[in-house]
């Protein structure tokens, strides 16, 4: 298999790995107006067609796993949502479930606490997906839709702010339960807002499926077949757009997802439009789930927070959850003290890059931004390990300047990078 499918992360620093057919090489990033995130894409083209696309990562190393070993389990509850800029609640959810299991209290979490956790996760999925398809519309040149989606996104942001105090980092979960209640008056305030938003998202879906100027940019672009997807192990909406119907909320249910009525969304076409529709439908499903959760919260009762001792007994456990971008996995090992022995985080974006770059083979350069956007790039996810203090920030800026200079030179003299 290694011969047919090569990982796209292999980039030689002397440039000798360029494919034979390519006549030009396009470098994108790590500083580029298209992407806010630091990654270096190398796109080899022949004429207007892409021959091969590769990536280099590692510009945003934060040392988070190491940092967690130096902090206590309780302190880490507030560090872990910083693993990702936008899917913070789901990281915290995975973390608290892991620690609860190691502490042996996973059965004692009350229904109410679980529902509030789910509310936070689903609200996050809604605002993350809306942000993404807004930017996708911007990439296709349809800026009106970009403005419209981002205007409507404020509704869900307001709901999140109401219940948690923050817009993108609710940080509601603690080991043993949740920090704050979701009182009835706030639920009543949120319900009409959710219903408004459902109407708006249905309108967005109508635009994405009927408006010719956007459908033509997305349909049959960057097709990833099911066979390729199986080999390249994408996850989340990228995989569900290619006909792999795996969503951890269904395949390995956690919290109360098996108790709530919702549908698994997947498409079999495998193009960028399919991944877009997966996200649009998921947004609608999540919004309906939010309504159900609010209804159930009226009767659900129970203690919000269980007492957990600071020392966690020895053991190891793996938990997963469905983040907006895909499958989020944590693996924790406790050694009986109040600090973790080892904690491993793998956020979804890293698993999706290979499959996305495979989509580019043989496509036009003009479709490149759309395809690269299709997996919802999030590089705080990808190299979740970053440098520690302000003075080191300096070093990075220097490094990137050097990088940019080299890139310009390489372009100028038409020679390989480095």
């Amino acid at each position: 298999m290694a011969e047919d499918f090569r990982s796209r992360f292999r980039v030689l620093t002397d440039g000798s790995d360029a494919p034979l057919g390519a006549d030009h090489h396009i470098f994108v990033g790590p500083q580029h107006p298209w992407a806010e995130e630091p990654a270096h894409f190398i796109i080899h083209v022949k004429g207007e067609r892409v021959v091969e696309a590769n990536i280099r990562i590692g510009f945003n190393l934060r040392g988070m796993e190491k940092a967690m070993e130096a902090r206590t389990w309780r302190q880490n509850t507030m560090l872990i949502p910083r693993a990702c800029g936008i899917c913070s609640a789901v990281h915290q959810n995975v973390y608290v479930r892991l620690v609860e299991r190691l502490a042996g209290i996973e059965d004692q979490i009350s229904e109410r606490a679980r529902l509030i956790r789910m509310f936070s996760c689903e609200a996050e999925r809604v605002h993350s997906h809306m942000l993404w398809y807004g930017i996708l519309a911007h990439d296709t040149g349809f800026d009106t839709l970009f403005h419209v989606t981002w205007r409507d996104r404020e509704i869900i942001m307001d709901i999140v702010e109401d219940i948690s105090g923050n817009r993108v980092n609710p940080a509601l979960m603690l080991i043993g339960g949740v920090k704050r209640d979701l009182p009835k008056e706030r639920a009543d305030k949120a319900r009409p807002m959710i219903n408004d938003l459902i109407k708006q998202v249905e309108y967005h879906k109508k635009v994405f499926t009927e408006e010719a100027s956007i459908v033509n940019r997305l349909e049959n672009v960057g097709v990833l077949t099911k066979e390729d997807a199986k080999k390249l192990t994408p996850n989340g909406p990228t995989a569900r757009g290619s006909g792999l119907p795996y969503d951890i909320r269904k395949t390995f249910p956690y919290e109360l997802y098996d108790d709530i009525d919702w549908n698994l969304v997947y498409y079999t076409e495998g193009d960028v439009l399919a991944t877009t529709l997966v996200r649009l439908d998921e947004t609608l499903e999540s919004l309906r789930m939010l309504n159900q959760i609010l209804d159930r919260l009226e009767t659900a009762s129970g203690e919000l927070l269980q007492r957990v001792k600071p020392r966690i007994s020895e053991g190891k456990y793996m938990t997963r959850a469905e983040a907006p971008r895909g499958e989020d996995i944590h693996y924790g090992i406790a050694n009986g003290t109040d600090k973790p022995e080892r904690y491993k985080i793998r956020a979804p974006s890293l698993g999706n890059i290979d499959a996305t770059l495979k989509r580019m083979d043989g496509e036009y350069i003009a479709d490149m931004p759309v395809i690269l956007r299709s997996y919802d790039p999030c590089f705080s996810c990808t190299n979740r390990v970053m440098i520690i203090n302000q003075s080191t920030g300096e070093k990075k800026i220097m490094g990137q300047d050097e990088f940019a200079l080299k890139a310009i030179k390489a372009k100028k003299y038409n020679r390989p990078f480095f």
């Binding site: 292999r10 990562i57 793996m318 499958e327 996995i329 520690i388 070093k395």
Partner: protein, 173 residues
């Protein structure tokens, strides 16, 4: 042990030779740990991949245990008709700390490439037969002998090394 092993064999519809595994642990309903010594790991993964049809590798995590390294492959057995996943933690034990070498699983999973290189970066574990064992995440000028996730380096030491590196680079320019 044998209960968990036979249950797993039933689910995967294969037979696992007894000497290939050290232990099979049932963590919870539909979630297993397979613990295997590194000499047999490749052959066992071949059975899991070819016969049981496991194709999804979620990630690889390495960790230190006493005086050896362990490498854990988090793989998923997927049953498409039931929309169900059986997570399996495939743990390779007893990798010598002084000369850490273990078979690469790149023949079965494309994704093993970068996850294995990540382990190589952070722990210095060398995966045999990996065609491209190079640095993935750490900076280019990072000292070769420093493997930052090892327990022998404390948080403060790593910070010092990073600061020295930053100073050195800014002086070079």
């Amino acid at each position: 042990m044998s209960d968990a092993l036979s249950e797993l064999e039933n689910i995967l519809n294969i037979t696992i030779p007894k000497d290939f595994v050290e232990e099979v642990v049932k963590v919870e309903e539909g979630h297993f740990d397979i613990i295997s010594p590194f000499e047999k790991a490749y052959a066992l993964m071949k059975i899991l991949h070819d016969d049981a049809g496991i194709y999804h590798l979620t990630t690889i995590s390495a960790y230190e245990k006493d005086d050896s390294f362990n490498v854990c492959y988090h793989i998923q057995h997927r049953i498409e008709e039931e929309v169900k996943e059986i997570p399996i933690n495939f743990i390779i034990t007893k990798i010598d700390k002084d000369n850490p070498k273990t078979p690469s699983m790149i023949d079965f999973f494309v994704a093993a490439d970068y996850y294995e290189r990540e382990c190589y970066d952070f722990y210095g574990i060398y995966f045999n037969d990996h065609p491209f064992m190079e640095r993935l995440i750490l900076p280019e000028k990072w000292p070769d002998d420093v493997r930052p996730m090892k327990k022998e380096y404390s948080w403060e030491q790593i910070r010092e090394i990073t600061l020295n590196l930053a100073k050195q680079i800014s002086e070079d320019d």
